[in-house]
């Protein structure tokens, strides 16, 4: 299977601080990938490495089988929508499309015009006077109309109100269905990701905490509650993601490939949001490794 993004021990250091370290990933093409993590976890750094805006300090990264931004052909294959939907505030909508056509060899003028019409954007209106939702939609139009194989979106909906957010995601999902483009998007809004993404990566403290297809992750995680006991007494192959205890009760979030057979546990399923949050809260166990890298 081809990889949308493949990294091997990828790291990026700014002066003395590692923004991303030891990142090894294989993201198959054809997915909508959600990149989740607290602020400062390294999400934007990873996306900037994938689009070639940054060069790695350590390790390697390949995007669609090539070095990021290796040349004009590679640039044409990746659409990038940076944070805050960068547009030229003084330029009218129509000029943005003209610019897109001029700069991108594979520009789909039909698609761009159809989208602008459907979004009800006035071609003569300056981008600076559009609403936040309209700006995001125009920026997405520019990224989609270059007909990329991979679309990279950094917090595309962060500044939008709930309605504009939903409309943006509807629009994005329609593009994915029509054009079979792979997507990697970062977001804090896990409920949005739950609908839109079929693959997630949780990045914490510049490291990948967990990554995989959403359905596989949901199937492999269970919430166990039962009489208080030591998590160390669990059968092999059961990995504790989070644990909490009262004086009589133990509640565990575990990852396991097999069924939970012990009748002492009440087993319940766990939603994506709770799963992601548990991984984000999990203490960094490999922190000392980071110190060595410094």
């Amino acid at each position: 299977m081809t990889a949308a993004i493949e990294t091997e021990a990828l790291g990026k250091r700014y002066r003395t601080k590692w923004a991303l370290a030891g990142c090894t990933l294989f993201i198959p093409a054809g997915h909508v990938v959600g990149l989740v993590g607290p602020n400062g976890a390294g999400k934007t750094t990873l996306l900037n490495l994938a689009t070639g805006e940054l060069a790695p300090t350590t390790g390697t990264i390949e995007v669609l089988g090539n070095r990021p931004a290796a040349g004009p052909a590679q640039l044409a294959r990746v659409g990038y929508l940076a944070q805050d939907a960068p547009l030229y505030a003084g330029l009218p909508v129509a000029d943005h499309l003209r610019l897109g056509a001029h700069l991108n060899p594979g520009w789909d003028a039909d698609l761009a015009h159809r989208r602008v019409e459907r979004l009800d954007l006035d071609p003569k209106q300056k981008a600076g006077t559009l609403s936040g939702g309209q700006r995001a939609q125009l920026a997405l139009t520019l990224a989609v109309a270059k007909r990329p194989e991979l679309l990279v979106l950094d917090e595309p909906v962060a500044s939008l109100d709930p309605l504009a957010r939903r409309e943006f995601l509807q629009d994005l999902m329609e593009s994915v269905a029509e054009q079979e483009v792979s997507v990697v998007l970062s977001s804090h809004l896990i409920s949005d990701l739950e609908r839109a993404c079929d693959y997630v990566i949780v990045l914490v403290d510049s490291r990948v905490r967990v990554a995989g297809p959403v359905d596989d992750l949901l199937a492999a995680h269970h919430l166990l509650s039962g009489p208080r006991r030591d998590p160390a007494s669990l059968p092999a192959g059961m990995e504790v993601v989070s644990a909490s205890h009262t004086d009589v009760q133990t509640t565990l979030l575990v990852r396991t490939s097999g069924p939970v057979l012990d009748p002492a546990w009440t087993v319940s399923e766990v939603g994506l949001e709770d799963l992601m949050l548990a991984y984000m809260k999990q203490p960094a166990t490999r922190r000392h490794h980071l110190e060595v890298l410094k």
Binding site: L169, E174, A196, D215, E269, V270
Partner: protein, 130 residues
């Protein structure tokens, strides 16, 4: 044509929710053999969900023999789930309504009724197995 909806709080994977809704519609006779299921693109755009999720649900329905894809056209219902029992729904529903009225007269609230039904249902199923 049915319309899908998603419950974000249910904890049930979205593709399973779609499957359940198709099966539910088949059971209730809202969908019949030959009916077209909503187009993948339309479901994705309408619910803001991943097209792969819809495809996965439809593939699963195909695997169960309930639907078939016609390339370039869409996915169509090919099976039924009512097992010819749809005609029995009316009388059963009326009986259940009478039973519900009786339960309320006996002072049971909604939660007690649900609990009683669920536990009776479970023990009846267990007897069937044993």
């Amino acid at each position: 044509m049915i319309e899908f909806h998603l419950d974000g709080r249910s904890g049930v994977a979205p593709y399973l929710q779609l499957i359940h809704q198709v099966r539910h519609a088949l059971r209730l006779g809202l969908l019949h053999e030959g009916d077209q299921l909503p187009k993948v693109k339309d479901v994705a755009a309408g619910l803001a969900i991943n097209p792969n999720t819809v495809l996965k649900a439809y593939r699963e329905l195909e695997y169960e023999g309930l639907a078939a894809a016609r390339p370039g056209i869409g996915t169509f219902v090919t099976g039924t789930l009512d097992g010819g029992s749809l005609a029995a729904h009316g009388p059963l529903r009326r009986e259940l309504q009478r039973w519900l009225a009786k339960a309320r007269r006996a002072g049971l609230d909604d939660e007690s009724i649900e609990a009683l039904f669920a536990s009776t249902f479970r023990s009846a199923s267990e007897e069937d197995i044993a």
